[in-house]
Amino acid sequence: MTAFLQKRAFASLISLMGLVVLVFFLSRLTGDPTTLYLPVDASLESREQFRELHGLNDPILVQFGRYVGDLVQFDFGMSIRRSAPAIDVVLQAFVWTLQLALITMTLVTVAAIVIGSIAAFHIGGVFDRIATFFSLIGASAPDFWIAIISIVIFSVGLGWLPTSGTGTVWHWILPIAVLFIRPFGLILQVVRGSMVSTLSSAYVKTARAKGLRNKPIIFVHALRNAMLPVITVIGDQAAALLNGAVVVETIFGFPGVGKLMIDSILQRDFTVVLAAIMVTAVAIFVMNILIDILYAVLDPRIRY
């Protein structure tokens, strides 16, 4: 197990390095880096000063070495707009996004497993139609559109929920509901498909033959075996949730890492963008490793 985890961590590290190299060369080779780091209206002198200060006149490999050295110490430099270290700004926002993602994914997982299992048990029934409907909506409707339409209906029209910001529990409902739809539809389909094939296997028939009730058959016997493909998709969707988080956080004024990233891009605050990308990448790699561990816990046949 530890040997496997080391191997996985090493593979993740290589992917991360790939990202670092990509970002570095993109930022250095597509024109003048001072245009990325400094505001658009920066004077020539301040640009020259910035070059001197940060060694942008050195050979590119020297710059790369220094850049990697800083990254290892999690030193991304100061945020230009916020006069705080970029990494602090990002970590603060990241906690919000992490909460949002965790709550959403927990709800999605529970709902998708319960409804998907029941749908698989009664193919063509009410739950099955819910499954089809949500997966179609999730795959077809743009999340930003659902978000603003739900603001119009629930915040402006009915006045039930606040339009944006944070503070009370009510502020969380709309962002979570909008984020919920896409992964729910997708995971639901996978749960359903996986359950349909598991329910037709021999040991489920045995369980039924010896007179077990439906509930223990579905949720005790079949579910554990049907879970493996589901977990893979949950992992993918948790990473993809960040796509939705960027949009949803921007619309609902939620102080997470997605909104921070878009704000920083519009304000041209490159250090924060860079730090946000790296922190997100590390989080995704950690999650991928956790999913591998979960695999081994669920299925004792899998031994790394």
Partner: protein
């Protein structure tokens, strides 16, 4: 086809033209048929509507600011209402369809071509090259596509061309992995080995024998992916880092209408509806294609003809 020999002769249907056969199958699935019609309308709008309505769509009329929809006494282009500068929404949606479809088509075609080629190489050769290709795909796949697009668009100027490149990069691994997985299985089949024994070159085997078998799967995925890319482009444009004004796309129109949500909901509603209907149609069409292009499941759509499926 071989088992039709055992059937009594009256059960053999007359050979119909393949195109007609496909049309018949499309007609059997009413939802997919409507979807196909809608997609054709959208394509027609993108090709011919944009140049025809360009002038009408950009003509400002400040007296008609945020004109309400369903006012049929006005010109037909105003039936869906007017935007904040009094420009007709219907005409703008038609004009915007050009950019929206162009970005999505470009991204899908580029990623399909590059992904499939790399996938065929990675699947048919077992050298270092395929290892490197797969690791590269892993790196791209392991990162949320929108974030990747965000950082690249930050450093490059957001334009139609760059948007296509960015979206294509994020979608290449999908085709790469699919075509590689299919090739790994197909290359062991008899007809490939026969071709090899007869001395066919690698190029000929890959492009003449393997590619046609893989292609239907790839087309089905591409249809689905078209919807995905459209949504991604809309999100980017909505966030302000995709297509820039005065160019318009549906996503950008939703963003521009956002400021008037409480007073004029139609500004954001109609372009959003256009996005949904298009992606929904693509999803339905992709579902139909999955069945229609699969010889094992095809009978489900042919069932009206004979009932011994």
């Amino acid at each position: 086809m071989t088992d039709t020999k055992t059937l009594p002769p009256q059960n053999i249907p007359a050979q119909t033209h393949p195109a007609k056969q496909i049309l018949m199958m499309l007609w059997r699935d009413k939802l997919a048929f409507c979807a196909a019609i809608f997609i054709l309308i959208v394509i027609f709008c993108a090709l011919f509507g944009a140049p025809l309505l360009e002038d009408v769509a950009t003509k400002q009329n400040l007296r008609g600011r945020n004109a309400a929809p369903f006012d049929f006494s006005k010109d037909w282009v105003f039936w869906l209402g007017g935007d904040a500068l009094g420009r007709p929404l219907l005409a703008r949606i038609v004009v915007a369809s050009q950019n929206t479809l162009m970005v999505a088509t470009g991204a899908v075609v580029v990623s399909l071509a590059i992904g499939t080629t790399l996938g065929l190489i990675a699947g048919y050769t077992t050298r270092m090259g395929s290892q490197i290709i797969m690791r590269l795909a892993d790196v791209i796949m392991s990162f949320p596509s929108l974030l990747l697009a965000v950082i690249v668009l930050y450093m490059l100027v957001p334009s139609v061309g760059n948007l296509i490149i960015v979206l294509a990069i994020t979608r290449i691994p999908v085709y790469l992995r699919t075509s590689r997985a299919e090739v790994l299985e197909i290359r062991e089949r008899m007809f490939v080995q026969a071709a090899r024994v007869m001395g066919a070159s690698t190029n000929r085997i890959v492009f003449k024998h393997i590619l046609p078998v893989v292609f239907p799967t790839l087309v089905t995925i591409a249809t689905l992916d078209f919807a995905f890319v459209m949504l991604a482009e809309s999100s980017l444009s909505f966030l302000g880092i995709g297509i820039q004004p005065p160019e318009i796309t549906w996503g950008l129109m939703v963003a521009q209408g956002k400021a008037y949500l409480t007073t004029a909901w139609w500004l954001s509603f109609w372009p959003g509806l256009a996005i949904i209907l298009t992606t929904l149609s693509l999803n339905l069409l992709s579902n139909w294609m999955r069945v229609a292009l699969d010889p094992v499941q095809r009978w489900r759509l042919e069932i009206g003809k004979k009932s011994n499926g």
